[in-house]
C-alpha cells in the first residue's frame, strides 16, 4: 500500500487536503500505482468479485431490512410480502438469497486458488489467516441469514446447529439456552440472529480492509509462485491493467449470477423453506445450505456428538495452520508434480463430502463420509507435511519476466533449480 505512490497533488486545494489527510494518495497507491505481477491469470480476479459480492449483499440486505420484520409469528409472511407486494421486492430478495450462494462459490474458488498456488506461504501467512477469519464470519452470517425467512429449514437448521454447542461438557446446555434466549429456538433467537446478521457483514468489511492491507503490504502471489524481482520487468500498474481485467471478470460473474436470479432463483434453495416454521413437525431430511454440506458430512460421519463437533470445527480451523503444515518452500503447484495430484484428489474429496452431506446419513453414505473425512484430515496433517520432504520440485523460473517469456514461446530464459537457490524444505 505504501511506497508505490507517485501521486503529486496538482491543485492548491488538493495539496492542502493531502498534507492533512493523505487519502487520495492512499487510494492512488493502492488502486492505481500498486504493482501487480504480469503473469496473473483470471483466478486472481476473484478478490475483486468477492468485494463486489460483499457490496451487493450489504446493499440488497439493507433494502430488505427496510421491509422485513423479525418477529416469529409474522416473519414468514413479511418475506412473502417482500416477494409479492414490494416493488421489485422479488428481485432484491432473489439477489440477496442467490447472492449468498454466489459469494460462497467465489470464496471457494478464491480459497482453492490460494491452495493451488501456495498463496498462504511466507510472507502471506497473516493474509491467509485473515482470509480464514473472513470465511468464518461469512459462514456465521449466512447461517443466521438463512434463519430469517422463518421457514421449516430455517427453524430446524437453527435447531440442529445451535444444538451442536450442547455437546460441550458441563456448560453445553447452558450455552445453548443462552444462544436461544429460551428453552428452544424461538422468537428471541430470531431477533438476535437478525441483529447479528446485520452486524457481521460490517465486521467482514473491516477484516476485508485488513486482508487487502496485508495483501498490498506483501504483494500478490502469482501462478509461478515466485517473488517479484524487478518492479519494472515483472509487474504492471494496477490501473489500468488489473482494473480492466477485474471489471471484465466481474461482469462475466454477474452473468452467471443473473442466470440464477432470473431463471432459476430457487435452484440453490430448499423447497421446505417455503413452508412456515413449525416446531411440531420435523422435516424428513434437515439439510443446511449447500455451502455447509462438506462440514455437515464431517459432523455426521463421527459417531460421537462431541467428536463430530470437534471434527467439524477442526476441519475449518486446520485451514488457519496451513502455512505451517505445508513444508515445501515452493509455492505454486505448477512446479510441484506430486502436490498437484494430491491437490486434485483433495478437491474431489471436498466436493464429494458436499454431496455426501446432502444425502441421508445411512448405509453406504456413512461409510463413504468416514473415508472422505479421514482423507480430508490426512491431506492436511500427513500428506502436506510429508510432501515437502519427499517431493522433488521442478526448476523454478528465475523471474516472473522469464516465466512470461517462456510461456510465450521465447528463449525460456534462465532457470534455476529450486533447491539451488533456496532450501526445499524447512526443517
Amino acid at each position: 500500500m505504501e511506497g508505490h505512490s507517485t501521486y503529486q497533488p496538482k491543485s492548491k486545494v488538493a495539496r492542502w487536503f493531502e498534507s492533512r489527510l493523505p487519502l487520495v494518495g492512499l487510494v492512488h497507491s493502492s488502486a492505481i500505482a500498486y504493482p501487480v505481477p504480469k503473469n496473473l491469470n483470471y483466478f486472481w480476479t476473484f478478490g475483486a468479485i468477492l468485494t463486489l459480492m460483499l457490496v451487493v449483499q450489504i446493499l440488497s440486505g439493507v433494502v430488505l431490512a427496510m421491509h422485513y420484520t423479525a418477529y416469529a409469528p409474522v416473519s414468514f409472511a413479511r418475506v412473502e410480502h417482500i416477494m409479492r407486494d414490494v416493488d421489485f421486492g422479488w428481485l432484491i430478495r432473489y439477489i440477496h438469497a442467490n447472492g449468498a450462494s454466489m459469494f460462497f462459490i467465489a470464496v471457494y474458488i478464491h480459497m482453492f486458488r490460494g491452495m493451488y498456488y501456495g498463496s498462504y506461504k511466507a510472507p502471506r501467512e497473516v493474509l491467509w489467516i485473515l482470509g480464514v477469519i473472513i470465511y468464518l464470519l461469512m459462514m456465521a452470517t449466512a447461517f443466521m441469514g438463512y434463519v430469517l425467512p422463518w421457514g421449516q429449514m430455517s427453524y430446524w437448521g437453527a435447531t440442529v446447529i445451535t444444538n451442536l454447542f450442547s455437546a460441550i461438557p458441563i456448560v453445553g446446555e447452558t450455552i445453548v439456552q443462552w444462544l436461544w434466549g429460551g428453552y428452544s429456538v424461538g422468537d428471541p433467537t430470531l431477533n438476535r440472529f437478525f441483529s447479528l446478521h446485520y452486524l457481521l457483514p460490517f465486521m467482514i468489511a473491516g477484516v476485508v480492509i485488513l486482508h487487502i492491507w496485508a495483501l498490498h503490504h506483501v504483494g500478490q502471489n502469482n501462478p509461478d509462485g515466485i517473488d517479484v524481482k524487478s518492479v519494472a520487468k515483472d509487474t504492471v500498474p494496477f490501473t489500468p491493467y488489473a482494473t480492466i481485467k477485474d471489471v471484465f471478470a466481474m461482469v462475466v460473474f454477474l452473468l452467471f449470477f443473473s442466470w440464477f436470479i432470473f431463471y432459476a432463483p430457487n435452484y440453490m434453495g430448499h423447497p421446505d423453506n417455503y413452508i412456515p416454521a413449525n416446531p411440531l413437525s420435523t422435516p424428513a431430511h434437515i439439510v443446511p445450505e449447500w455451502y455447509f454440506l462438506p462440514f455437515y458430512a464431517i459432523l455426521r460421519s463421527i459417531p460421537d456428538k462431541l467428536g463430530g463437533v470437534i471434527c467439524m470445527f477442526g476441519a475449518i480451523a486446520v485451514l488457519a495452520f496451513l502455512p505451517w503444515l505445508d513444508t515445501s518452500r515452493v509455492r505454486s503447484a505448477k512446479y510441484r508434480p506430486l502436490f498437484r495430484q494430491f491437490f486434485w484428489i483433495f478437491s474431489i474429496v471436498a466436493v464429494g463430502l458436499g454431496y455426501l452431506g446432502s444425502q441421508p446419513a445411512e448405509g453406504g453414505y456413512v461409510i463413504a463420509s468416514r473415508i472422505f473425512t479421514a482423507y480430508y484430515f490426512v491431506h492436511f496433517l500427513v500428506i502436506l507435511p510429508l510432501l515437502g520432504f519427499i517431493e522433488k520440485p521442478k526448476p523454478l523460473p528465475a523471474s516472473i519476466a522469464d516465466a512470461v517469456l517462456a510461456k510465450n514461446g521465447g528463449a525460456g530464459g534462465a532457470t534455476v533449480v529450486a533447491g539451488a537457490s533456496a532450501p526445499q524444505t524447512k526443517g
Binding site: 435452484y267 423447497p271 474429496v349 444425502q359
Partner: protein
C-alpha cells in the same frame, strides 16, 4: 496432466460407487416432467389456463385450503389470470369479510374488496383439522415452491443448465392425478388414501376432483388431467406472481451484460496488447 485426470477419475468412481449402492431400493415413482408455458427463459403464464385454474381452485381447493397471501386485487394484476378489475371486484364481493370494529366497537360483515386477502375457509387451524379428519390442509399460497421431486445426482446438475424450476408443479400435477388403488398387500390406515406420488403413499386428502366436476366454458376437456394441469399452473402463479416480469427483465439484463462484457473484453485486450503476460 494425464495422470491427474486418471487420479481424478478413479477418485470420482470411488465416490459414485458407494452412494449408488446405498440409494438402491425403496425409490418412489418420480413425477413426470410436464411441459409448462412458464418454463424456460422466455416462459410466460397462459392467461386462459390461469383463469381455468382459478376456477378449479375456487370451486374445489378453496373449500378446504386457505391462500392467505393472495389478495383479490392480484387477480387483475399484470402477469396473472388478468381478470378485468370489474371481474376481480365481482369475485371479491361474493365473499363476506369480517371487518371492524365499528363506532359501536363491534365487528361486522361486509362484502369483500380488491384490497382484501382471500378469505380462509376455516377460522383457525384447529377448526380446519376438526373438519378434515384431524389433518390440516396446508395453505396454498406458495405451495408450488414448497414442494419438489427429488432428482438426485446427476440430475440436479443438468437442472441448473436447463433452468428446471417446475419440480413443484410437476409434483402437484402428479399428486392430483396419482390417486390409484393401493397395490395388493399395502396396509392403508383408516381415514387415509393411497396416492402414487405422496411420500409414504398415504395421504389424508381424499381424491379431490373427478372428471366433469368443474365446468369449462372454453371447450377445454373437463378431465382430471386437464384440471390438474390448470390448477397446478394457477398455484405456480400464486407462488410466483412476478414470474413473467422476472423472465422479461432477466432477458434484458442478459443482453445488457453480454454487450458490456464484450466491450470490456476488447478494451482489456487493447490495454494488455503490448504487455507480455
Amino acid at each position: 496432466m494425464k495422470k491427474t485426470i486418471l487420479f481424478g477419475a478413479a477418485a470420482l468412481a470411488l465416490l459414485l460407487a458407494s452412494p449408488v449402492k446405498a440409494a438402491e431400493g425403496g425409490h418412489d415413482d418420480l413425477p413426470h416432467r410436464e411441459s409448462w408455458s412458464f418454463a424456460g427463459p422466455f416462459g410466460t403464464y397462459d392467461t386462459a389456463q390461469l383463469q381455468r385454474g382459478f376456477k378449479v381452485f375456487r370451486e374445489v381447493c378453496a373449500a378446504c385450503h386457505s391462500a392467505n397471501y393472495l389478495y383479490f386485487r392480484n387477480l387483475a394484476q399484470p402477469g396473472g389470470p388478468r381478470f378485468s378489475e370489474a371481474q376481480a371486484k365481482a369475485v371479491a364481493t361474493d365473499y363476506q369479510i369480517t371487518d371492524g370494529p365499528n363506532d359501536q366497537g363491534e365487528m361486522f360483515q361486509r362484502p369483500g374488496r380488491l384490497s382484501d386477502h382471500w378469505p380462509a375457509p376455516f377460522p383457525n387451524d384447529q377448526a380446519a383439522r376438526v373438519a378434515n379428519g384431524g389433518a390440516l390442509p396446508p395453505d396454498l399460497s406458495v405451495i408450488a415452491k414448497a414442494r419438489a421431486s427429488h432428482v438426485g445426482f446427476p440430475g440436479f446438475i443438468t437442472d441448473a443448465f436447463t433452468q428446471y424450476q417446475e419440480g413443484g408443479v410437476d409434483y402437484i400435477h402428479a399428486l392430483l392425478t396419482g390417486y390409484v388403488d393401493a397395490p395388493e398387500g399395502f396396509k392403508l390406515q383408516s381415514g387415509l388414501n393411497y396416492n402414487k406420488y405422496f411420500p409414504g403413499h398415504q395421504i389424508a386428502m381424499p381424491k379431490p376432483i373427478s372428471d366433469g366436476q368443474v365446468e369449462y366454458t372454453d371447450g377445454t376437456p373437463a378431465t382430471v388431467d386437464q384440471y390438474s394441469r390448470d390448477v397446478s399452473a394457477y398455484l405456480m402463479w400464486m407462488a410466483e406472481p412476478h414470474l413473467d416480469a422476472r423472465k422479461r427483465i432477466g432477458f434484458q439484463v442478459f443482453v445488457f451484460l453480454i454487450v458490456l462484457a464484450g466491450l470490456l473484453y476488447f478494451t482489456k485486450k487493447k490495454i494488455w496488447k503490448n504487455v507480455a503476460h
